[in-house]
Amino acid sequence: MKDKSPLLEMRNISKDFFGNSVLKDVSFKLEKGEILGLVGENGAGKTTLMKILFGMTVIRDTGGYSGEIFLEGKPVSYKTPFEALDDGIGMVHQEFSLLPGFTAAENILLNRESTKNNFMTELFGDRMKNLDRKDMRKRALKAIGKVGVQLHEDMLISDMPVGHKQFTEIARELEKDNIKLLVLDEPTAVLAESEAEILLKSMKKLSSEGISIIFISHRLREIINITDKILILRDGRIIQEKPTSSTNISEIAEAMVGRELEVSKREDVRVFDRTFLSVSRLWVNMPGETVRDVSFDVNEGEIFGIGGLAGQGKLGIPNGIMGLFPGGGEIILDGKKIGLNSPRIALDSGMAFVSEDRRDVGLLLDEPLDWNISFTAMQVQNKFLKPIFGNLIKWRDEKAIQNAAKGFIDALEIKCTGYSQKAQELSGGNQQKICLAKAFIVEPRVLFVSEPTRGIDVGAKKIVLDTLIKNNREKGTTIIMISSELEELRSVCDRIAIVDEGKIAGILPATRPAADFGLLMLGTAPVSGGAE
């Protein structure tokens, strides 16, 4: 029977978070000893799918899922991860779940320690058993051996480099006797190339021993090298399911970013002749979006796109240049050097920023719209102020503020009850328009727009993007747009830089096919003939 039915089958899995559909009708099978590569952009639904399989409580808390899961032909539905563990499913998460003050062996065998009896056990029961250190060491070494690395079992987790931590996690899963299926969520992201090599080798070995593996990775080369079958998710659907032998990297990349249908044909390639903003050797210490070494030039009047996968550092670039996170490097705007680490200096030099974090950075949620729109202009450029007693007192000019707000509410079709409504009462799309108004009102020479369409509906998306284009064409504002959505960048920008691991992987004209950008995102060298 076991030989007939696949090890794992997920059938018609769908899941939505508060009406926002993230998985639609996902079905696949996984045979015993097979390695399945799961790829897709951020937000494609990979992690959610694995959470469903693993019975993470977050799934139940948000209304559960629909569809069926079969493990070795038996229908299963895990309520907690413990049940999944008992059935022999192991998972290594993106974030480490290790005890830093414990050794590798202790972590590997946590809660499954070898124990021996002593006289206290007779009196107080099993909780008083001693640890059998010798046996534990043996078992830990065996598990580490399965991974195929050199790892000292007595080393404290806190003393380990990230790679070793990753190996410890994997060893912990492998130590379980009944392990049948191992889910590895981006295990190689933190590993050096040589370490990744070792891990891949041990994965091959495990699969030959009959353990099935679901491997999630953004590194397509690894996926191609190791998997038997590749499953591509996009917007919660399976776009492609093919044996690895019958596909190649560029096909995968295209399927991943895809949306060929929606691509608005851009025939005009604008030519620029003057470098306006020059960024060189920029580093930014923004947690989760570290920028390591970024250099690029933006021309006057250009719309420059910055894309890349989440966590690679694309968001750190505008936040660093605008002084919101500490950083270093050289920014030259229109021939003048601009200091870093001070929002004021950045604003004074004529740069403006629409933050990706609308609620925390972008808006005064408790204040009326007219305040939100006018505040930056008032503080930085002394607009909307009436001088009293010479220039002794700078009085807020309510009338002017209100008129300016009214103007933007009409121009950007902001749905609200009036300029005195509080910002928190607006929908995401309208809040985003307020953020844009706030930036436009200072008439910036360079405008950074970070994730302008994140979390807003299609209609608002179009208005936001059209507004940006209009501003660029009519006022000549140089715009730098940072977005996770490649298609959006391709439809708006002139050139697009892709950021990978805190560095620019490449800068290509927006007219290049989506697959080229996909390859850059995945850390693969672009097809020959790049623009730079």
């Binding site: 919101l324 004021r344 609620r359 972008g362 005064l364 408790d366 503080q379 102020l385 009085w395 807020r396």
Partner: protein
């Protein structure tokens, strides 16, 4: 019903209950043989006495530093100003303004230090402020004895050193404001000058909040990250608000003294913050939003209850309930407000 709900929602339950309670006290007053004229003017006097100290909380609420439980620090600056004025021998109504002037440098220095301290404990301002208030009072208990004051109106009679616990301002600025343009009709007394002065200070604060700096201060309190991204120096704004709060506390206590008649040293300022905080909260302010209107309504309601309960309640139930009610109302109000503090995202 819907209309009623809207009223309740707009006014807020605490304000409504206390307003109705105060109203019923005024209704009950004639039946308890309490003269309505006296009680009304007492209420107005106490309103004027305490108003500026309630107002002193506004700048810090605006800049997001929370309720100024460190108000005693400002009051101490005011006490220093007052005692220095008497020491210098300034007399008459002008001495009130000399006292305010003399208190100003202390308020600036104290406020600056206090502001810098609060900038280091962002998120825990109110707790630290309470300790600042209490410890500064304790510290000054020693200093009042040690500072080289020598004016015979102020020092202990038997040894000639150290200040007395209460010092009369008679001959200095007693009723300097209260008697200005005062109206007397029978038992009713209206301290016009004091109310005008309070109105003037309220206007100054209102005007300040309408300037560029005041707007920035409000934005810092509303969303510091937004303010920083707009090029505002958050720490500077917060420090300015604390200095302003401290200075208003100093002015507040001097105005209080001119009406009350005495300078209260040593433990005098110890519990001054709590009634002020309770008053502004009854007025409808929250930990991060306050308006001048909240100050006026709150000071009137809170002081009204304090004035009316002893006279009315005592004659009805033959028992001194005023202190009990004062403590329940003021501390209850503070508790209520702190449960409404929105943490993190709001």
């Amino acid at each position: 019903m819907k209309y009623l709900d809207r009223i309740v929602e707009k006014t807020g339950w605490p304000r409504l209950i206390i307003g109705l309670f105060l109203f019923s006290l005024f209704i009950a007053a004639p039946f308890a043989q309490v003269k309505i004229g006296t009680s009304l003017s007492d209420t107005l006097i106490r309103f004027g006495m305490n108003g500026i100290m309630v107002l002193a909380l506004v700048p810090m609420i605006h800049s997001g530093c929370g309720l100024n439980f460190g108000l005693p620090l400002g009051i101490i600056a005011g006490l220093l100003g007052a005692t220095i004025t008497i020491e210098l021998g300034a007399t008459g109504a002008a001495s009130l303004f000399i006292a305010i002037l003399a208190a100003t440098p202390f308020a600036l220095v104290f406020g600056w230090g206090y502001g810098n301290l609060l900038n280091r404990v962002k998120g825990n301002e109110m707790m630290i402020a309470t300790y600042v208030g209490f410890s500064s009072v304790a510290f000054m208990c020693m200093m009042w004895l040690l500072l080289p004051y020598s004016s015979p109106t102020m020092v202990w009679g038997y040894e000639g050193v150290g200040l007395r616990t209460t010092i009369s301002v008679e001959g200095f600025y007693l009723h300097a404001l209260s008697n200005f343009l005062a109206v007397r009709i029978g038992t009713f007394f209206l301290p016009t000058g004091m109310l005008l002065f309070m109105g003037f200070v309220c206007f100054l604060v209102w005007a300040f909040l309408h300037t560029k700096t005041g707007t920035a201060m409000t934005a810092v309190g509303s969303n510091p990250v937004f303010a920083r991204a707009s090029g505002v120096n958050i720490d500077r704004m917060r420090t300015i608000s604390v200095i302003l709060s401290t200075w208003l506390g100093a002015v507040g206590i001097i105005v209080y003294q001119q009406s009350f008649g005495f300078i209260q040293l040593y433990m005098g300022p110890f519990y001054m913050a709590f009634p002020a905080v309770a008053a502004i909260l009854i007025g409808g302010a929250s930990v991060n939003k306050a308006s001048i209107m909240n100050v006026l309504i709150g000071a009137f309601l809170f002081q009204g209850i304090l004035t009316m309960t002893p006279s009315v309640m005592n004659s009805i139930i033959q028992m001194d309930m005023s202190e009990v009610i004062r403590i329940i109302v003021s501390n209850g109000m503070i508790l209520y407000a702190l449960t409404r503090v929105k943490k993190g995202a709001h």
